[in-house]
């Protein structure tokens, strides 16, 4: 195959004549001879389109995906069922961009789905306003911390160690660069240690951040934590939630949260190697002007037709940039659309069904795995769709055995929580069948 460069030798010569040089090499005469490579680049020979397609297919086939495995791995990314309509709508060319609308008001369709997404997130979280999304659950937590720090003019953030360790890493990285102090509170039997939390909340605290269901799958006592946070005037209570859990759990808004964030991946977004995902963020009306990102509103045009507009955007992001606390001005457009389509497809009842099935199946799996006593519950607390067990067997050994049986095992807690040696966190979504769960528990029984 010949490389696709359409200029002939004659074309080249004519161009050189116009600019007044003799050869292409003359164009590089400024570069000293001794730094020039003087040989061809060490690249593979070119391939035809057919060859490239074959090669890429072969590469793709060396992946093992959750289509080939039965997935019991969660820890922040979940194998929920994605209704086929989600893919059909997100791949429509009118919508197919991950980016923010330029000349926004012309993009009425984009504005409409952002408006609908924001409405859905507000309904789900029990808050007044939502932005048009952030990158992922981790950046959403960091942005919430900045927002709280900005509102309270304080720079101490308290976060529970039961929050996803990756989110805490993101927060620590961002906070470090903004001179924000991050205090991490140890867990006590799988939940935030409330006594420890009380000791650290003081007049310098901008926010208390917790996750519920937390990283271990356990439902935190949000009301009690909110009270501790609000024991200090103006300290904000930030909660990170699994949006699916809100199908059956009380909304964080009704439990006193000031800012609600979370990872939107469970809402119709494929696992796809860890991203792109979707960070959602909602808050109370009083803090609307400090919300990073943008808010879309519904109105009518000059002819009285229903229309959508970019209503509000933190002024710091444009006219007072030096005061900006966030550089978020784009959003995860296509994933926002996926989440909106997912939520309207399921509706209230459907979301409750997904949440109920996941919980019931997770509890069934927990019972099956722990019934013989070989695997013991790591914690004794109410959980949603994830639970941790421990045994005398090394977690990696267990996961390797499961992989041989085409099962993607749980998350080894020891990596981030050395105190929970051999602890494994299993996630069970509505997709798992009784047979799959029974197979998992019987294979686990057989491992010695």
């Amino acid at each position: 195959m010949y490389p696709y460069i359409p200029n002939t030798k004659e074309d080249e010569q004519r161009m050189l004549e116009v600019i007044g040089v003799n050869s292409v090499e003359d164009l590089f005469s400024d570069i000293p001879e001794d730094v020039k490579l003087k040989r061809d680049l060490n690249l593979n020979s070119s391939m035809s389109e057919l060859e490239v397609a074959k090669y890429m297919k072969k590469l793709a086939e060396s992946n093992t995906t959750i289509d080939d495995l039965t997935c019991f791995l969660g820890a922040g990314a979940y194998d929920h069922y994605i209704p086929s309509i989600v893919g059909h709508i997100t791949s429509r060319s009118e919508f197919y961009t991950s980016y923010t609308p330029y000349q926004a008001e012309i993009s009425q369709g984009t504005l409409q789905y952002i408006f609908e997404y924001q409405t859905l997130i507000c309904n789900l979280t029990g808050m007044d306003v939502s932005n048009a999304s952030l990158y992922d659950g981790g950046t959403a937590i960091a942005e919430a911390a900045f927002m709280a720090s900005n509102i309270t003019r304080r720079n101490k953030i308290i976060i529970s160690k039961t929050v996803n360790p990756e989110y805490r890493k993101v927060l620590n990285t961002y906070a470090h660069l903004q001179s924000i102090e991050v205090v991490e509170i140890e867990d006590k039997e799988g939940v935030t240690d409330l006594e420890e939390l009380k000791k650290h909340v003081d007049a310098k605290t901008a926010a208390v951040i917790v996750q519920s269901p937390n990283f271990f799958g356990i439902i935190e006592d949000l009301e009690a934590i909110g009270e501790i946070a609000h024991s200090q005037k103006r300290t904000m209570f930030v909660t990170s939630v699994d949006p699916i859990s809100l199908g059956i759990l009380k909304s964080p808004g009704s439990l006193g949260a000031d800012i609600v964030v979370g990872e939107g991946q469970p809402l119709g977004i494929p696992l796809s190697f860890g991203g792109p995902y979707l960070g959602f963020m909602a808050t109370k009306k009083a803090h609307m002007r400090k919300l990073p990102g943008r808010i879309v509103g519904e109105t009518i045009d000059v002819d009285g037709n229903r229309a959508f507009v970019l209503t509000l955007q933190a002024r710091e992001q444009h006219i007072r940039r030096e005061k900006a606390t966030s550089n978020i001005c784009s959003n995860q457009g296509i994933n926002t659309l996926a989440a909106a389509v997912y939520l309207v497809t399921l509706g209230k009842k459907g979301l409750r069904e997904v949440a109920t099935q996941a919980t019931q199946k997770a509890h069934y799996a927990f019972k099956q795995i722990t019934k013989s006593g070989k695997y013991k519950p790591l914690f004794d607390k109410p959980f949603f769709k994830e639970f941790a067990v421990t045994s005398s067997i090394d977690a990696d050994k267990i996961n390797n055995k499961l992989l041989e049986e085409k099962i993607l095992g749980g998350y080894s807690l020891e990596k981030e929580y050395p105190q929970y040696k051999n602890g494994i966190l299993y996630a069970v979504t509505e997709k798992r069948t009784k047979e799959e769960i029974d197979t998992l528990s019987s294979i686990l029984e057989g491992i010695i």
Partner: protein
């Protein structure tokens, strides 16, 4: 541009009305005129303390946003909540509609400010 007598003024167009050990602070007519239609006022919280020159509020109009700076050291003892509901009051009467009331920390700092006569002259020079 309207300048009210017996108030103190800053070069950033804030005014100060002293009442004993306390003072009302607002933005001058010139400031509201420059900003245009005001759509949002951000106010501090009661008990917040500010030093002279520190931004304590932000005023946003349809075309710009501006910080409002504390003319003298003080502690916020009252905020004008009416402005939160109706920011346009600042356009209607910027002298009647104060932003905050403070407890003055150091009265001698008032000497740093302009009298209404000096401010009028300052405005003439600005123009």
């Amino acid at each position: 541009m309207k300048v009210v007598k017996d108030l103190y003024y800053t070069e950033d167009h804030e005014w100060v009305k002293v009442e004993g050990g306390e003072a009302y602070i607002g933005i001058a007519d010139y400031a509201q005129d420059q900003l245009g239609d005001i759509v949002y006022v951000e106010l501090p919280e009661i008990d917040d303390e500010f030093e002279q020159g520190e931004a304590f509020s932000a005023v946003e109009s349809v075309k710009a946003a501006a910080d409002v700076y504390m003319p003298i050291d003080g502690k916020i003892i009252e905020i004008n909540e009416e402005l939160l509901d109706d920011p346009a009051l600042l356009n209607e009467d910027p002298y009647e509609n104060w932003l905050v009331k403070i407890e003055i920390a150091d009265k001698s700092q008032l000497d740093d400010l302009m009298t209404s006569e000096e401010y009028e002259k300052f405005l003439d020079e600005e123009a």
